[in-house]
Symmetry: C2
Subunit: 342 residues, 2 copies
């Protein structure tokens, strides 16, 4: 025992040969209802020991908010146990293609908030949203006016046209619009077994005035995966897993801030109860029916093709407004000033 | 397509045959810097759909605090990804005997806080702390004065004596004190391969005046498991995993509130940096050396036994103060009044 004046066990002794951890005097007693609670104690410990300023800022805020949550809601031991079990299960049931903790962050509105905080937009610019799990790296680059859907794709015909503009209303030159979407069965190409073809996705090269269009299929609504823990979460809150119909876009142009977003047709159900909170009102637009064969032809559809698919084409128009890099740098400076106060 | 006027995909159609989820009008646009943010939107949705008041209260507070945390700290996408990956890994690496999410809750001070909130103590009562993972159901019931350590147990000899009192200073009749502790190598009996014997744990029956004692081994410090995600967390914050030396107690007596706690000798290292924030100052007491053979005998040790183990016995004394059930009911009423406001 003389070898162990600190009275630490074997496991610690093995580590102490390399490093003696710093101890601090236990100066104050921490107790609820006093001027010095466990929250103060945890944060004071971190303030004295944490080697990195950003880590300290993140965890000080996290400890403050988690502890405030506990004081506000007074969780029972049973509720705490269920929360631990839920998070453990969410980790265990996550796979490479379906992460339950990302879904939880999405369904708490946290992912959308962090996306918005990271992409401040000057007034009048198109709102962003998260890209979601179905973006791939292999979308073909196609000229404006191309078809993005193969002939066998399930669904109704759609013609999408848009202009990419700056905050002054001028068309932006050099824009590319990557789009990816579900088909008329609510499935992305990557969700079909063995992914028979690249479909319903492309990198469209806009015209020099910022205008671009493509022919494709009207997307329909589909659910997020709800067979695991996130389904239980949504059920407990009275919510459903169904996302509104949408097309994803990632718009880029030299000198402008990248825009990742999605557009929603106003006819879609679930706009008011979207599980991941991506249906910003500014991204919802009406889609109209085009029944004029002359217009079908101008869009690039053959009359036979349209007649075979119900005798109409859905026409979807939008104006994307991108901030310049300078405009965003200016806004971010203000945000960073807030963060550096931590 | 006529069959699908809502334009929802196959996966949703299959579910809609059973139930049409309620949609809400998308009345307001949510955006940072306006009067209606995503936080308002999420909480309003839950307020309209959640079928259970307590669930709504818990998640409204959680959403408010997680969103406030994000606004305060402005996490980058990279930081958010690391947090998701961390929690996923914590779930995946958890086992029946080592739950990384419990450890994370412990090391953020959250477990200790929730324990304290659930066990409000009138002033003067002994503070509580969590039982930890090493309590078993098979501790033998022994009369006061018994030995709890087998002859081969590693460590220095200790005599522990205490009285269980009420808030008026009177000894409490009918008390039982379950104790469990590590030995002189920092290991609990259950940590030895195949657990050769029940050791260093017992349910001691106190005398009618509340006094009890036992003979055993001075516990030494040991680390919490730090080979997984919690080790990375502690390292990032400049902290170590070593718990101070301690004895766990669970004291029960008819008519009194159960007390789960632990006591710490003032000679222990790591009192100021305990990883799970259980070293409340009121639980730390000095332990003295007894070198008088007459006293050893009175304690129940043989002189030969003591001489073989370094020629001294450590004497540890404490007074446990338990609130009556009535006193706690009164305090809890006040706490519940707070919670019901949610």
């Amino acid at each position: 025992m003389m070898k162990d004046p600190l009275r630490v066990g074997k496991a610690i002794r093995a580590q102490l040969e390399h490093e003696i951890p710093r101890d601090l005097p236990l100066e104050k007693d921490f107790r609820e209802g006093t001027n010095y609670t466990i929250t103060d104690h945890v944060n004071e410990l971190h303030a004295q020991l944490c080697p990195d300023k950003r880590t300290l800022g993140l965890f000080t805020s996290l400890v403050n908010h988690l502890h405030a949550f506990a004081r506000e809601t007074q969780p029972t031991h049973g509720e705490w146990t269920r929360a631990i079990e839920y998070l453990t299960r969410a980790g265990k049931e996550s796979t490479e293609y379906k992460n339950e903790l990302i879904l939880l962050s999405d369904c708490l509105g946290l992912s959308a908030l962090i996306d918005e905080l990271n992409h401040p937009k000057p007034s009048g610019c198109t709102d962003g949203c998260e890209p979601g799990p179905f973006k791939t790296d292999d979308a073909p680059e196609l000229p404006s006016g191309s078809s993005v859907a193969s002939t066998n794709t399930a669904g109704e015909l759609m013609y999408f046209e848009a202009t990419v503009k700056d905050t002054k209303g001028q068309g932006v030159p050099g824009a590319k619009a990557e789009m990816w979407q579900a088909d008329g069965d609510g499935l992305y190409d990557v969700q079909y077994p063995n992914r028979p073809e690249i479909n319903d996705r492309a990198r469209i090269i806009a015209e020099p005035n910022g205008h671009f269009s493509y022919r494709g299929i009207l997307p329909v609504a589909y659910p997020i995966p709800s067979d695991g823990p996130i389904g239980d979460f949504l059920h407990a809150l009275g919510r459903h897993p169904h996302r509104s119909s949408h097309i994803h876009f990632m718009i880029t142009a030299p000198g402008y801030d990248d825009l990742t977003t999605a557009l929603y047709p106003s006819h879609s159900p679930f706009l008011g109860t979207d599980p991941v909170f991506a249906t910003k009102k500014s991204l919802v637009t009406s889609v109209t029916e085009e029944r004029d064969p002359a217009r079908w032809k101008a869009m690039g559809f053959s009359e036979g093709e349209v007649q075979k698919r119900g005798g109409r084409v859905w026409l979807w128009k939008y104006e994307f407004v991108l901030p310049s890099v300078e405009e965003v740098v200016e806004l971010k400076k203000r945000h960073d000033a807030k963060v550096s106060k931590l």
